[in-house]
Amino acid sequence: MTGSDQLLPVLHALRVRGVADAPEIARRTGLPEVGAEELLLDAEASGLVVRSPFAGPHHWSLTERGAAVGEALLAAQLDRAGARSVVEDVLTGFGPVNDLVTSACTRWQLTELGLTSQPATLDGVLRDLAEAADALAAIEARLVAHLPRFEGYQRRFTAALGRARADPSWITATDRDSAHRVWFELHEDLLATLGIER
């Protein structure tokens, strides 16, 4: 692999994670940790990434330039794979499933906050999220057929649901790969891939 082939996975991992340190980038990209660190330092010198102001001292995030360069590389990859219409079609179908996930997360939060006169049950919320996981399996299969980097969302989402039954904080926690965090990443991935503003 050349340097520019490795740049996209690093920029993209930061795009969808938001903020990450080198070991996390290495896990996400499959690069060795020292390689990820070097790529991050090169990208910092080029103004593509910065040390993230509100996370740990070793955490990085993209600059606007880094996000734009990442989007250009993603667009080139998308067109090489001939997959633009597939991803556009996936994003269209994503809306209703996204509503299912965000409303299940919201119902659960409002129940926990005591803000609803009709409390949700954990069973009901997890049933909706399991339905979304089934839809996600089909979505991911379509994407991975053209773009292997989409692999893993369904596995991570389902793992979060598995843990949520015993510990419901796995539904919406921000400090781990909760169901909502994985879903938020996938949404960001689809938008970045098509260069669409949120």
Binding site: S61, T63, S103, Q109, T116, E188
Partner: protein, 219 residues
């Protein structure tokens, strides 16, 4: 759209407005929608027919809007869509916000008039200085304890949200990712505030994430 109170009289009637295709033409007011109304427990009746919904479809929308009202515990404006399979999707809901203007003056104390309002998205009230962030490159300018104002949030914004007194976004509703993250972090949030980024940097405001308001604190 569906309103679980008559928008004019406030009576307990669900009013449904429908246009073919997507709802942006309805929201922008550029078209005369079909209109139905339903008294509690009664079948919906059409007020202005445009050949958009069948009586059963109108009823499905009414039932769905009334579920949203029960779920959220108050009158709601519900944005919905009906797909070709006949499923009603709730896209967004916000508490009915129309009050008679001028009925309530500024509350006692230093808190001034409502500068802007939107969807109450994460409960609680907090005050702080406004910091308008137009993109991730503005993040370093943000100081913990400020009121973070932006268009929408992506995963990169989560660490800053965790340090914000409150969050105000221009787009999104109760279900948006920013709302879910703010509730998770216990940060008051108001979403869907049109023109929020026109707020002045440094202005001292009180954000009420339960009422959906941003108020200026008098100097």
């Amino acid at each position: 759209m569906a309103f679980t109170r008559n928008p004019v009289t406030g009576a307990r009637t669900t009013v449904v407005e429908a246009v073919p295709g997507t709802g942006d033409r309805l929201v922008s007011g550029g078209t005369e929608p079909e209109r139905w109304h339903a008294e509690p427990g009664a079948r919906p009746r059409v007020d202005r027919a445009r050949g958009v919904l069948s009586p059963d479809q109108a009823r499905a929308v009414v039932v769905s809007a009334e579920r949203v009202e029960r779920l959220l515990g108050g009158p709601q404006d519900v944005e919905w869509a009906l797909d070709t399979a006949g499923t009603v999707w709730t896209l967004q809901a916000r508490p009915v916000t129309a009050h008679p203007t001028g009925a309530a003056g500024p509350p006692p104390g230093a808190v001034g008039a409502v500068l802007s309002s939107g969807t109450p998205a994460s409960p609680g009230t907090a005050s702080g200085r406004v910091r308008v962030l137009r993109g991730v490159d503005d993040l370093p300018a943000f100081r913990p304890g400020e009121v973070l104002v932006c268009r929408a949030t992506s995963p990169a914004w989560t660490p800053a949200l965790a340090h914000a007194a409150a969050v105000v976004t221009e787009v999104g509703g109760l279900l948006s990712h920013a709302a879910i993250v703010a509730r998770e972090l216990g940060v008051p949030a108001v979403t869907g505030v049109t023109g929020a980024r026109d707020l002045l940097d440094g202005a001292l405001v009180v954000v009420d994430g339960s009422a959906g308001t941003v108020r200026l604190v008098a100097a």
